[in-house]
């Protein structure tokens, strides 16, 4: 499923909303998560999962082509941890006989 399909499904479920409003709603939600992470904050969505930022320490790296040492500065990376309910659901489906083929 890609962003436009998500918007499509939400639009079908909410016939009173304009397509462009649904686009804005979806954009706002992901922008809000992005903004929180950019500020170094966490976003915890019970049952779904939690987004946080991890810090990777500065280290000495190596240019694999030349073998030269290069300083790699500290950097922050977004991190997602799956929530309990979703993790359970992902694995319940596995025991069911109808497992649709992976899309994409």
């Amino acid at each position: 499923m890609i962003r436009s399909e998500l918007i499509q499904r939400l639009t079908e479920e909410n016939p009173h909303l304009y397509h462009r409003d649904v686009e804005r709603i979806v954009a706002t939600v992901f922008e809000e998560i992005t903004r929180a992470l950019a500020d170094g904050d966490r976003v915890e969505l019970r049952g779904f999962g939690a987004f946080s930022v991890k810090t990777r320490e500065a280290r000495m790296g190596r240019n694999p082509r030349t073998g030269e040492s290069v300083a790699v500065p500290e950097k922050r990376v977004p991190f997602f941890r799956t929530g309990k309910e979703l993790r359970l659901r992902l694995n319940q489906a596995q025991t069911g006989q109808d497992r649709p083929a992976q899309e994409e």
């Binding site: 706002t28 998560i33 976003v43 997602f80 649709p100």
Partner: protein, 109 residues
């Protein structure tokens, strides 16, 4: 100390930005999470451009070990969810380029 945002903060943002009622904003946030979860449970990859991609990975069975007792225990095959942040998200988290005005963004990356 980092702040923790919740569903409530997301629906407040929708309320502010889009002007739906608070109730409806909360419902829409919930619907988004439900659609994403349902697609993942079906085994689909969920790709939100400019944010990131959620991928379901199949993990094979393997032998694990109880770290306390040293006992070998079989670990069943299972499905795990992996989130791969987009470059835009990675840049933003590193204080990079603030992006196009929020909530105006389209599908294009």
């Amino acid at each position: 100390m980092p702040k923790t945002y919740t569903r409530l903060d997301l629906s407040e943002a929708v309320y502010r930005e889009v002007g739906l009622s608070r109730n409806e904003s909360a419902e829409l946030v919930e619907s988004i999470l439900r659609h994403v979860s349902d697609a993942l449970v079906r085994g689909e990859t969920v790709k939100i451009s400019s944010f990131g991609t959620f991928v379901v990975r199949e993990k094979g069975a393997r032998m694990g070990r109880n770290p306390k007792t040293g006992e070998e225990v079989p670990i069943e095959p299972r499905r795990v969810l992996v989130f791969r942040p987009s470059h835009i998200l990675k840049d933003r988290v590193n204080g990079g380029k603030a992006d196009a005005p929020e909530s105006q963004r389209e599908d294009a990356v």
